[in-house]
């Protein structure tokens, strides 16, 4: 588990550090769980997974990022994570999550998250997946997030190592007055990967801001549908949908569906969606420095997904 964690970009020394809050879950077993002052992690094992409650106390400023590790090492299995997050008013925390399934042949990983960000709180969540090369995995992360007045929710989901398999990502955020939501999803589809991404931001409070960003690269016969939705429902709400899908295979299919809606005459929501092949000039720029074409494409793809 630790080896796989490191392959996914994790630092195993962090898991041994006392002043870092952490949670390590394999299949439906909690292997490690450490609180720190101001942050509490409660868990309950079930037949198919683990329920997690993460609470950040009011005003708590957590100095070091919290580390979460969810994984399943056997070739087959199912892991369901029920996550309840409560970041109380004026708290501040960063969470780094690694989801590792290095041997998956027939694995389902589901995560249902219910997240409440309090007034003036900031919560940053970065989730990185590491999959093996078999591709027999379904990843189904769902999140419903509410951000109170002046709160900030920043999430990044990255699935660019190993084969995606089937990804069904769905995140919905409601922002109240002057709240901020920044959602980023990055995925690299190859083989017959099937990627579906839905990012929804409701800007319901005056001065709320939201950004739904996605970066998807597709090769071989991979397919992706990205739906970015932003709703400006309050005065001075500002939202933007930014979707880029690059197709690097003759049989890959990319679909982008940006939806922008405004119901208040002082709100403004914009979108940009770009789908196409990798820019030839970018490739030639790197080739002119001596890289062969495959390496040049790889550098560009890694940059987009970084």
């Amino acid at each position: 588990m630790i080896d796989a964690y490191e392959k996914a970009g994790g630092d195993k020394r962090v898991l041994e550090t006392k002043d870092v809050a952490k949670l390590v879950v394999h299949e439906n077993k909690v292997l490690a769980s450490d609180d720190i002052k101001g942050l509490k992690i409660e868990t309950k094992e079930s037949k198919s997974g683990v329920s997690v409650k993460l609470t950040v106390e009011e005003g708590a400023k957590i100095a070091h990022p919290v580390h979460l590790c969810f994984g399943l090492l056997p070739k087959e299995g199912k892991q369901e994570i029920m996550m309840k997050v409560e970041a109380k008013d004026n708290s501040d925390v960063s969470v780094i999550a690694h989801c590792i399934f290095p041997n998956a042949v027939k694995v389902i990983h589901k995560m249902d998250a219910d997240i409440e960000i309090g007034a003036g709180a900031r919560f940053e969540y970065k989730e990185t997946h590491y999959h093996g090369e078999s591709g027999g995995i379904e990843v189904i992360p769902k999140a419903k997030v509410s951000v109170a007045k002046g709160g900030v929710w920043q999430s990044t989901f990255a699935l660019s190592q190993g084969v995606v398999g089937r990804l069904d990502y769905d995140s919905e955020v409601v922002c109240l007055e002057k709240a901020v939501a920044e959602l980023t999803v990055k995925a690299y589809g190859k083989g017959t990967d099937d990627i579906k991404i839905v990012e929804k931001i409701y800007l319901n409070g005056a001065g709320a801001r939201g950004m739904a960003k996605s970066r998807v690269v597709l090769g071989d016969k991979a397919r992706a549908e990205v739906r970015g939705e932003t709703y400006g429902n309050a005065p001075y709400a500002r939202g933007h949908v930014d979707c880029m899908e690059l197709v690097n295979g003759t049989e890959a299919v990319a679909i982008a569906i940006p939806i922008v809606s405004v119901t208040n005459d002082k709100a403004k929501v914009t979108h940009e969606a770009a789908i196409g092949s990798i820019d030839r000039k970018q490739v030639e720029t790197l080739m002119a420095r001596g890289l062969d074409e495959d390496k040049a494409v790889d550098v560009i793809v890694r940059g987009i997904l970084k």
Partner: protein, 238 residues
């Protein structure tokens, strides 16, 4: 070092480059001076092999080897490179990454020196992405730094002065001279006589062909007298 012999290019049946011949000596800064639309960027692409341009006739040799049909990478691996008039922007690629891969993993302090040479402070730029957040002038100077980092045998610089402000221009010209001092020959393609002032020889380009080659000062005078007043757009006057 570089020999270009009677190169021709037709696009959609229209001649763009006509019997273009040129030689660039080892250690030389060779300027190509021409007005807009004379084929300057097309020549840069033909020599580098970029933009899918393949000559319809003629050949190019570099250090005695025919490069006419080589890929961009193969030409670069032989020591030729190109700095574009409008360099590409690559999301997620930092200046540090770009200079490092250009130098084929050169030392960090050397890489920083290349930025300083073109007048950019490493601490402010190394970790920035080469994306739309850079101004055109900043991007151009980073492009020149990446060519310096590569230490090519021949650097083709397409309009290196475009988008460069008057304060940064001396830094840019200094960078090109430095590149030449560290051993690179330079093919300097521009419409600016100020830029070709640092060249050893300058060729005048008109309608896709070289109509005159000589020392920089002489060529500049000839260009002013004949090209700037020429009523025939892209038609050779002699």
């Amino acid at each position: 070092m570089l020999e270009v012999d009677k190169l021709q290019l037709k696009l959609n049946g229209k001649p763009i480059i006509n019997d273009f011949s040129l030689h660039v000596d080892k250690g030389e800064i060779h300027g190509i001076l021409g007005e807009n639309g004379t084929g300057k960027t097309t020549i840069a692409n033909l020599i580098m092999g970029t933009n899918n341009y393949q000559p319809t006739a003629g050949r190019m040799t570099f250090e005695g080897q025919d490069i006419t049909k080589l890929s961009v990478s193969e030409r670069a691996q032989r020591g030729i490179t190109l700095a574009w008039q409008e360099p590409a922007r690559v999301e997620g690629l930092t200046v540090r990454d770009y200079l490092s891969l250009s130098s084929h993993n050169g030392q960090a302090d050397q890489i920083e020196q290349y930025l300083l040479t073109v007048g950019l402070e490493p601490a402010q730029y190394m970790d920035r992405d080469i994306d739309a957040t850079l101004s055109g002038g900043e991007r151009k100077r980073i492009e020149l730094a990446s060519v310096l980092a590569m230490r090519p045998k021949l650097a083709i610089l397409d309009e290196p002065d475009s988008g460069i402000d008057i304060v940064a221009m001396p830094r840019l010209l200094n960078g090109i001279i430095e590149m030449n001092k560290q051993g690179s020959s330079v093919l300097l393609i521009t419409h600016s006589e100020r830029v070709t002032g640092i060249a050893h020889r300058v060729s005048i380009l008109c309608a896709g062909t070289i109509i005159r080659t000589g020392p920089a000062a002489e060529s500049s005078q000839w260009f002013q007298k004949n090209c700037l007043t020429c009523p025939h757009i892209n038609e050779p006057t002699q």
